[in-house]
Amino acid sequence: MIKNLFKYSLACLAILSFTSCEDFLDKEVLGYSTDKDYYDTKYKLQSALDATYDILQSDTFNDSEWRFGEATADDVWGADEGLSSQMGQLVSFRFNTSNTYIRNRWEINYKGIHRANQVIANAHKVELSNDDYLEYKEVREILGQAKFLRALFYFNLVKTFGGVPIRPEVETIDSLVIPRSTKEECYAYIEKDLREAAIMLDTRYVRTDAGKAGSGAAVALLMKALMYQATPGIQSEKWEEMVRLGQYFVDGVSMTYADMLQWDSSQEDWEALRKRLWFKPQELNSPTDPYEEPTSALPDLHTAYSLNYADCYGASIDYIDQFFQTGEFCSGSIFEVVFKESADGSAGDTNEGGYVFDDMYSTSPVIWSTDNILTEIFGSDPRRSYNLGHQTYTPDGELCQCGPGKFVSLKWYTPVKERPQNGGDNGKNRRYLRYADVVLMYAEALNECGNGAAALEQLNKCKAQVNTLNNSSTLYIGGGYGYMRDQIWEERRKEFAFEWDRFFDLVRQGRAAEVIKAYGANRANKRGYYFREGVNELFPIPQSEIDVSNGVVTQNPGY
């Protein structure tokens, strides 16, 4: 009897415990944010945007930038070029599809995309405390910057790998494997983000807002994305669109919202688009609020930046100061990767940029140039003097000891007084997009569209600014299409030397194989000689991606 009682009570207890279990699981944890309710204020959305910018500051991101953009090309030699290391294999184009750096580049850019997607997918959840125009504008600018950053990360991927998977803005466990989109689809996606960012953002942000991507950054990156889609020597609407954007950015020809968006009223209603992009809805507009229409002119962009060497206050600076702290957000700087001192006394953080330039400008640089290469790049151009050899002095009087025969760029150098308190930090920002790039892209597009005379004018604007360094009056000279193109490419190489863009510039010019193979043939270790034309212009999709997707993500041809 007692035994039975015991059994029953046990069963009852068991049942009770099951029911309570279910109730318990249903309850929400109080005071705990989830992705469903987190993004309800602009401050929280801003914190998600900050997290996206954080990727740009990460060591992995910057590491991948110089390895792919600079070390693989013909302006530098590298310390790590042996075929036994992953880096050596990468720069020699003798890697396999499991190369660590290739995987890193893939992963860090997708990490950035994922973070940008958090902002973009959740922006609609923000609730405003009042109906001020400025409240809408603030959210719109957060969303616009996220779009710019997402485009930047996708652009990095497309120029490295070709068409890549476009991740859904909201990731679900049911669709983790996404097949690759074509290169054209990816570029269309990038363009859409940039065009929208261009109308959502202020032209440039200054003072306490410096560092935010403005519409200048969006338009500059848009021109670059168009340039990478076009082929030199082949007419295309991409070149024409670049000219149109150049006229707006450089010449100050007005451009409307609809022009920038290439807006099609049959695709999306204007008011719906405004709401989606956080422009204040028309029905809530008060008479004093501005109302942006498709035909409204975009704010002037050509007055926001200039080729002059001047700091953010307009005081004139030296050429190389453009790359130092003095010249942060200077008149020619459109977008920078902002590195901040941690100020907490700690060393070894991974997002303060210390590692980036310290490895290059050091007593044992990871990459460096040589006398011969500098002669090839610069000839007698005054910009050559911003590269230092062993036992020579920096502008602020520090002795450079990079090693005999090596030359390092002052673009990588941090002046003594700008150096941070803590190791592992970096004292200066990395310049990502510059106005000179916009002017030279415009010049190239003009030449491609058969307007050599206007191209020469833009090209010589850059040259004239450089001439102020040595009071020279030498300018580029007019000529046929091929001559103009060669001169523009020559100026690009001089102006953007050692800014980690050379490899991708060569690839989009269609002469990577020719240039890099010729470079490799002259080197003892033949680095670059094994570049395979038609294959190595794109890097392989990381093998791990192919493996985990069971082949849904396909490999690039030739690998």
């Binding site: 000529g479 046929g480 001559y483 395979r532 041809p557």
Partner: protein, 328 residues
Amino acid sequence: MKYNKSIIKLSALLLLAPFFASCEDDEAATPQAGIIIDKTELGINETMTINFEGVADQVSIWTGDEDHDYELRSESNTGFVVNKGLFTYSYSTPGTFHVVCIASTYNELATDLRQDTCSVWVRVIDDQTEIEKLSCPQILYDEVFADKISDNDWVMRLPRKVKYRTASPSISLSQRLRFYINSDSTKVYVGGELFGTTTKYDLAETQDIHVVSDFGSTRDYKLYTVQYPEFDEFTINGVEGELGRSEFDYSAFTYDITLPAGTDVSNVVPVFTLTGDNEKAYIGDSEQISGSSTVDFTQPVTYRLVGVSPDNAQAVAESTITVTVNFE
């Protein structure tokens, strides 16, 4: 005592027995090499996919090209490790290659290693005969590209003179050529001779171009050269003007002529000669005959000059000259 001894023996045997047994268990499995290859005839840089379908602990594949030849494995040639049974590769040179797959198994302590091999021959074909682009790389400092007018015909349009700074040096018809072909192995013959990058070719003649791929396929092209026509001389009422060139566009000219003040230019007969033989001048679509066609020069007049290759009527070069009359 005897009893004790046998107990020891027995127990020793019993102890040994599992030892042997475990030894036998630790023997390597029998490897079996087997691959499925998606194609055995490939183009240059075309991806070949190999799936391993056998039994092995480790698989390596020797692709048979330079540095990866199984026959030369003792001479520092290497194979590739296969991961997850999938291997992709492409060849950058044409040829026939012996692809060898090694399936190996081993036991835990690697005291027993076994191998099985299988192989397949693949053929890599380079039959690229398509000329992608064709240019004269040294027109002063410019590289001038030819245009494709039909599948096998290219036309090179060259200026007679190029404006550079204040001078206008003449451009010879004896020029270097440059071919853009997507292959390192394809050979090009110009006028029956193997093409040389520094050889100068007489472009006054139509050039026969013969392209032979590594595979053996051939294709013939013709390169016609037409110079942009210009006025050699152009006079109105016996007065000559000055030809202006554009450094950017070799087909666009200006011509300025200065006449005495008060000259009636609404109905004049210009006298002109063209530089080349197969050239004609038009205003709009009406042909102009020197010394006979009357023209109204009260506004600038744009002449359209058309030069044609004697060998192919489709190979034309057209230039425009805008004639402006000024008065003293």
